[in-house]
């Protein structure tokens, strides 16, 4: 059997991906161990933990972590296990721990940066060499944490993988645009995330974010039905908000070709370079004036005329700037993914914008969403279909060009962003995989 790095290299050709990338448990384990530790993965938003001691518990790949507001107001990310016996220190997803965490098993306590604070009957460890154990260091803190305008990312590996700015580069312009849409330049998480369980590989969902040849086909049942009813009864009247949000899904191939796709290094990219399905929403009363007041006319126009559709932050996050939403594709197993869909309030903007954001989230991203039903059906049929022998490759060759890489703009129906993701996938898998193999 080939060694692991040879196995990974053999799974990706420029326009094709071997099915094992989606099906094989050993590949999934390597993703968790290498890809999700060498890259900067989104953890949560600062507005979820505004006060000292506030925490939010989540996963980075297969690693349980706690994001917490430390006493100096910085954000720390700690592995969620007690150094004593391994007990998860917090079990609810959010709360306030006060000045310290306290393990519920034996009452070991830790400062909010993870350092050991106290152990009951500490004299029992006297002269035992305890201070040389890893347990004496307290809860392990993730060394590489970045708070980018309140979006918290972490890279689990201490010393491998690129620095934050190098990893994301110009792709941060999409996050900037989403945040700048607030007249105050700030976002706040609103409510709980939708959680949607899919029996398919997490990469299928990420690929679909820049798949512009599926909406008019897979979503004919949902968006097409809205169009059918509106064509018959709506006439020339003012479209209700929901119609305005859903109808663009039925746009023509030409529309999506013209939208454009931009790729960046390290697997990031976005649809909607020139225009997008989010370009033609109605003005919300007073909002443009607020933005001009805050930024000046020219800058406000620049912010609001950027209508990027989906921006993929490799490996597992997508944002929609004009909608103020974020989707996180959390890998559970090779064939299981939980998608979380979060929304944000633009601080100081009119409530109607938040109403639109919340509506979009439930109509498109919910497990009760008819658009979601369309997509899940396709992913799961693909996951099952890939079991078929005699055809081992998935094709992502559409509009392939030989010199792909770096920042480029393409025709909006290219699959170049999927290829971009797989180039990054191979890069960050091999980064630590090769070095751990004995020659």
């Amino acid at each position: 059997m080939a060694n692991p790095s040879e196995r990974i290299k053999a799974l990706f050709k420029p326009g094709e991906v071997h099915r094992d990338a989606y099906l094989a448990e050993d590949v999934f384990k390597m993703e968790m161990k290498h890809l999700f530790r060498n890259t900067w993965v989104y953890v949560g938003h600062g507005s979820q933990i505004p006060n000292k001691g506030d925490y939010y518990a989540t996963m980075i790949g297969d690693q349980p972590v706690i994001m917490v507001r430390h006493t100096d107001m910085s954000v720390k990310v700690l592995y969620n296990r007690c150094p004593h016996k391994g007990t998860q220190v917090v079990i609810d997803t959010k709360g306030n721990t006060g000045k310290f965490f306290r393990c519920p098993y034996h009452a070991w306590s830790f400062k909010t940066d993870g350092k050991l604070l106290a152990i009951p009957l500490k004299k029992g460890y006297k002269d035992t060499g305890f201070d040389k154990t890893c347990a004496s260091k307290g809860m392990t803190a993730v060394k590489n944490v970045k708070d980018y305008r309140e979006f918290i990312f972490a890279r689990l590996n201490d010393d491998t993988g690129p620095e934050f700015e190098e990893f994301f580069g110009n792709s941060l312009s999409s996050l900037d645009n989403m945040i700048d849409r607030s007249p105050a330049g700030r976002l706040e998480v609103v409510g709980a995330p939708l959680r949607y369980s899919h029996n398919c590989n997490w990469k299928m969902l990420v690929e679909n974010q820049t798949d512009t040849c599926h909406p008019m086909v897979a979503h004919e049942s949902s968006a097409g039905t809205v169009k059918d009813i509106w064509d018959k009864e709506g006439g020339d009247g003012q479209k209700p908000m929901v119609v305005e949000l859903v109808l663009p899904f039925m746009s023509s191939y030409e529309f999506f070709e013209g939208m454009g796709i931009r790729t960046w290094d390290n697997g990031h990219g976005h649809t909607g370079v020139h225009h997008s399905i989010h370009s033609d929403y109605s003005d919300i009363g007073g909002y443009v004036a607020q933005m001009q007041e805050a930024y000046g006319t020219e800058r406000a126009d620049e912010i609001l005329n950027e209508n990027r559709h989906n921006t993929v932050y490799f490996p597992n996050m997508m944002i929609k700037g004009p909608i103020q939403s974020l989707r996180l594709f959390k890998p559970i197993a090779a064939d299981k993914t939980i998608v979380e869909s979060w929304i944000f309030r633009l601080v100081d903007a009119p409530d109607t914008l938040l109403e639109r954001t919340a509506m979009y989230n439930r109509i498109i991203n919910a497990p009760t969403s008819i658009v979601g039903h369309d997509d899940l059906e396709m992913y799961e049929r693909a996951q099952s279909g890939l079991a078929c022998d005699g055809m081992e490759w998935v094709n992502i060759q559409r509009l392939y060009e030989e010199d792909e890489g770096g920042e480029q703009v393409f025709n909006g129906t290219t699959e170049a962003q999927m290829r971009n993701q797989f180039r990054a996938w191979e890069k960050f898998m091999l980064m630590t995989l090769e070095s751990e193999e004995t020659p």
């Binding site: 609103v190 409510g191 709980a192 995330p193 939708l194 959680r195 949607y196 369980s197 899919h198 029996n199 897979a218 004919e220 049942s221 949902s222 097409g224 039905t225 809205v226 059918d228 009813i229 209700p240 929901v242 119609v243 939980i338 869909s341 929304i343 409530d351 938040l354 109403e355 919340a358 509506m359 989230n361 439930r362 109509i363 919910a366 497990p367 009760t368 008819i370 979601g372 039903h373 369309d374 899940l376 059906e377 396709m378």
Partner: protein, 159 residues
Amino acid sequence: MKPSKQDLIDFVYTEARLLDDRRFAGWLDLFADDGIYWMPLEWDQVEEKLTTSLMYEDKLLLRVRVQRLEGERTFSQKPKSRSQHLLQLPQVDEIDHENGTYRVYTPFHYAETRFDEQQILAGWARHTLCVVDGALKIKMKRVDLVNCDAPFRNIQLFV
């Protein structure tokens, strides 16, 4: 029409039966023109429009769902899902003839199945009803799931 307590109880049972019989057009007729079907995402959720819900659907969206369920290219309904509602005896919380407002509370278990997969949901339905042209209609059907914050798979029919 001044509905009796029994009329209100019968209404809730009839509604569930229409759904389980897949008589969706008839079910849709139970909604007032400004009726809303609401399934909150969070426990004890109060906010209707300025936060995420699982569903918050006016009659237009409900019509889209019903038409879609029968669509030629509705691939997630090939084969079609089936549902079954098991209702506790509906409790009438309010009868207000003067304002034409009636409120009914109904704990339920709900099964939805497609292919080999069956999911069981449990929760509470709260109907706010009114009288339009001599017939009871739904102003608001609020469905709270006991596990509203769980990572669900597709819920394609109506709880």
